[in-house]
């Protein structure tokens, strides 16, 4: 939501964490069902829902496992409600079967992944190593989730409501992909009053409500008759193409007069921004592309600029592949990445830029 519009609406300032901002946004966006299972570093989100959902007309369930949580979301969404679950990396792995079923049954839903270090139990430090899982159908089958990556607490708030909107619009699951740093960080945000559709008014003729005055509805992803599943897949694909055309989102900084373009998302982009500003002060022509939608990946941002790129991630090069696909050999790409608890620092970024600049 743009700042002008935000000013017109009632302005309430809150000082909250990224996790809480996601939760608050979801409730305001009309999320009526939340199920989660505890895992660090996203516990504040679950706790916020436990405190607020019931009082504000929703349902909160602490599920017995992530598998149950995602399938409860499936049920709630099938019944027509806006529904959400959240977790962190290991828990998101457990949800993958359910996410595939949500995609297969075309059920809107929001899934929050506040990423931590992996593989396996890994650790609870922030990481961005679930990028592949989020953007390349982490479960089985040819499907996509819409993936939005906030980089500030304000954006946690804004993008969560947007995720519900887009998820309903296209009937695809949407993922909010953050990391432990963003989830735990406290910042002041401006809260807007979203006008969410109520369960009764929501325009979901496919939802399960009981077959009064209409034919029976079925929510399913099973197509056994020869040719039917291929037909259904083609329908999904054309929907994904539409999303790809219409929903690319990114932020850009100093791209008018630039020699090296940094590419980073989420928390990593904040650190990269710091490096860009410091380098600009030293007269270095450095800019930034910050993908906000990771799927669809903002390819258009790269079409305009054939310069040297430096991709920076809290992983060993996952978004890097999307940049390579977008640039398609038309420009040089360098990479700086750390993971497993390591976060590329502003100083490391500056050193790397200087090396490329003079190298």
């Amino acid at each position: 939501m743009d700042s002008e519009k935000r000013q017109k609406e009632s302005r309430v300032k809150l000082l909250i964490t990224g996790n809480e901002a996601i939760a608050e946004s979801a409730i305001q966006a009309g999320c009526r069902f939340y199920a989660g299972y505890p895992i660090t570093p996203q516990n504040e989100l679950t706790a916020y829902m436990a405190h607020h959902m019931q009082d504000r007309g929703g349902v909160f369930i602490q599920a017995e496992a992530e598998t149950a949580a995602i399938n409860m979301v499936y049920g709630a969404s099938a019944a027509g409600a806006r529904a959400m679950t959240s977790s962190s990396s290991p828990g998101i792995s457990l949800k993958q079967e359910g996410i595939s079923y949500l995609a297969g049954a075309e059920l809107p839903s929001v899934i929050v992944n506040i990423m931590r270090g992996g593989p396996g139990l890994g650790n609870i430090a922030p990481a961005q190593s679930d990028y592949f899982q989020a953007t390349r159908s982490g479960g089985h089958g040819d499907y996509h989730c819409l993936v939005l990556a906030p980089s500030t607490v304000q954006e946690c708030y804004d993008l969560t409501a947007l995720a519900f909107e887009l998820s309903d619009k296209y009937r695809v699951p949407a993922i909010i992909l953050g990391d432990g740093m963003l989830g735990q960080m406290m910042e002041p945000i401006v809260v807007t009053k979203f006008r969410a559709p109520s369960l009764k008014q929501s325009n979901k003729p496919w939802a399960l409500t009981g077959c009064k005055d209409r034919k029976a509805n079925v929510v399913k992803s099973f197509y056994l008759k020869e040719g039917d599943l291929e037909k259904f897949n083609l329908k999904l694909q054309s929907k994904y193409q539409k999303i790809q055309r219409e929903e690319e989102r990114w932020e850009e900084l100093f791209l008018n007069d630039v020699k090296i373009v940094l590419v980073a998302y989420g928390s990593m982009a904040r650190i990269a921004k710091g490096a860009v500003k410091a380098l600009r002060e030293k007269g270095k022509k450095v800019g930034l592309i910050r993908p906000i939608s990771l799927w669809p990946f903002p390819k258009k941002a790269f079409a305009k600029i054939r310069k040297q790129y430096l991709v920076i991630e809290m992983s060993y090069g996952q978004m890097l592949e999307d940049v390579q696909l977008a640039v398609n050999g038309q420009a040089g790409i360098e990479f700086l990445g750390r993971s497993g608890g390591g976060v590329p620092s502003e100083a490391e970024i500056i050193a790397k830029v200087n090396k490329i600049y003079h190298g």
Binding site: R32, F33, A35, V59, I61, A63, E64, A65, T67, A68, A69, N71, M72, V73, Y74, G75, A76, S77, A78, A79, G80, A81, A83, E97, G98, Y101, A105, L199, L208, T209, G210, C211, K212, D213, A216, N217, V218, V219, K220, S221, F222, L224
Partner: protein, 242 residues
Amino acid sequence: MDKIYAHPKSLRDVSTHYCPGCGHGLAHRLITEVVDELGIREKVIGVAPVGCAVVAYEYWDFDCSEAAHGRALAVATGIKRVRPENIVFTYQGDGDLAAIGTNETIHAANRGENLSVFFINNAVYGMTGGQMAPTTLLNQKTSTTPDGRCAQLQGFPLKISEMLALLPGVKYIERVSLHSPQEIIKTKKAMKKALINQMEGIGFSLVEILSPCPTYWGLSPKPALDWIKNTMVKEFPLGVIK
């Protein structure tokens, strides 16, 4: 003249894909009769399992959802919590409810979700070709217990209904069977009770239904019914458990 037997409104007029002598078709029909008799067709939402009954929604003419294998009670929880005014039931096989979905089953029951569960115990995995189920009897041969189920290696038939009966959130559990007309009448009565319990807000109700699978028992339909009567009920005694 009163019509005492007719095609249920909630049952579509199509032929099913089930093998000759299979219990699923009968159990489907009993559910639709009960739904009609209670006048809840326009309020009911069924959750189909992954198993032989995966396409139950092609036979039931009311709102239905599919659920991933074992997750029917999580899906039903989501539906019912959002739409408490609807009548929500799951229909699940023994693999679905008592193996891959045991966690969902126990915790939905323990939360005392106001749901009705129809649990088809046919002592095998039908859909995948007759493998051992948690409910397979000792010495029963299946494709994955070629020498018969052996307690030392494969454990014992799982009595999930008795286990669930221990939970305070569970209000009603009965084990019934489809092996004779008398038992079928009892099955229908139990199904009705499970749905009425939900309508009255009483809480979690489960009906376990012993159901023939002639194909993977290696028996023709009539001996399959006799096998339930003479053998299966010894391991899984009929009656109200809670």
